[in-house]
Amino acid sequence: MSLFGSVTSLLQILFVLLMAPLLNGIMLKVKSRAERRVGPPILQTFYDLRKLFKKETLRSNNSTFIFTLAPLILISSTVVVIVVSPIITTGELFNGSGDLFAIVFILLIGSMSIALLGLDAATAFGGMGSSRAATITSLSEPALLVSVIALSVQAKSTNLSVIVLGNVHHVSWLLSPSHILAISALLIVIFAEAGRLPVDNPATHLELTMIYEAMILESSGENLALVKLSEFMRFTFLLCIASNLFFPFGIDSTKSWIFIGISCILLAIKLIFIVGLIALFETTQAKLRLFRVPELLAGAFVLAILATISGIVV
């Protein structure tokens, strides 16, 4: 546990913590602009979170300790994956623990806890949201696991740092069909996991069409703030991983302070670019019917399988 490792881990947490609401604000702004409206300020998500932390927290009389614990588990599992993954540097604190398989299952803790949160207060909409989210998780999880294998085949390692470093050093890996297929599968899964269009509409006000929002209908105040914050953080984290896998250049691999700074700035630029693209993409999309989502995820699964096969064969 070096000083460098500890400081960079903290930096990674801070980076994602600050970028997450900002990116959401940017997405809202880009979407609004695309719809020819002015849209909320870029810092709107910060204002919303600040307000929620200041508000009273309501708790249902049917709820259990899960109600308070689930948001905390969600956010701390997110923080743990941020600590173990290479986001701005490949030389992080728990170097060996940044295993893709482990990351998938630590993220699953968050999904499970939030699904339990939905069922905790004995409401109809909460159960509905949990049921739908669990359905989507059960189908996106396999695609994610197989694309983990596909992404790891070339580097012969499931350790994320090793894969990212391998991609930095072997540019040809990035353009191999296996890598491109795996990244596209990963992107679909990210859209599903983060509840973005076309899987779920984060701006919906109609309970019957909600998936992820429906689970947190019962949360308020700081619980809601924690859940919202950690969902933004999960999305940002997944985007960081995708961008580091797809275009890793700029990530610090030398363990020097200057490079860390450069890597932060470059990653921020990359993320803003990706988020802008996603926002533009989302304005052209309508939400899929729930029973069309499995087709999308099955597509991702097939892409991941194809990626693995081409990784083995080539």
Binding site: S32, E35, R37, P40, K55, E56, H205, E218
Partner: protein, 160 residues
């Protein structure tokens, strides 16, 4: 932006908000640049609903001041009540109010909600919103113009 503002100023109606009673524990410092409302229709003719929908559309865009509508009172900072309170909606209105976390604000939107308007002593009518809850802010008009709605919500969300 400027074009829109000048466009808006053409329609500028007199500001129609007023604090009627001691507030429900609503602080400007909390709801700063972020106001999330739960819309409750307690017996409206849906004229107000159309205008509220317009207030959030791309032309009037109340969203640019940090105002949003939400599905759950748990996420809300207040209620946006439209229509005259009918007997059947008294209980749900109170429940929705209870389900909103403090500090919160009650906005009566439209003349029916403020005074009962045409329906005042009608069959199955309880009365204006102020008979059931403490109303903090009222938006006049039958129905209120979207600009009035946007203006009021802006004044609440961004009071400077």
């Amino acid at each position: 932006m400027k074009i829109l503002d000048s466009f808006l100023s053409l329609f500028k109606a007199p500001l129609s908000k007023g604090i009627s009673r001691p507030s429900n524990g609503y602080h400007f410092s909390t709801i700063n640049k972020s106001l999330t409302l739960r819309h409750v229709d307690v017996g409206s003719c849906n004229g107000c609903e159309i205008e509220i929908a317009s207030a959030f559309n791309p032309i009037y865009d109340a969203g640019r001041f940090g105002v949003a509508l939400t599905a759950s009172p748990r996420h809300a900072d207040g209620l946006l009540v439209t229509g005259v309170v009918t007997q059947n909606m008294v209980d749900p209105l109170i429940k929705t109010f209870d389900a909103t976390p403090n500090p919160k604000i009650v906005i009566a939107c439209g003349d029916c909600a403020i005074s009962g308007n045409l329906f005042k002593n009608g069959y199955g009518v309880k009365g204006p919103v102020s008979e059931v809850l403490n109303v903090d802010v009222s938006i006049m008009g039958c129905p209120p113009h979207p600009i009035d709605i946007v203006d009021t919500l802006r004044a609440i969300a961004d009071p400077k």
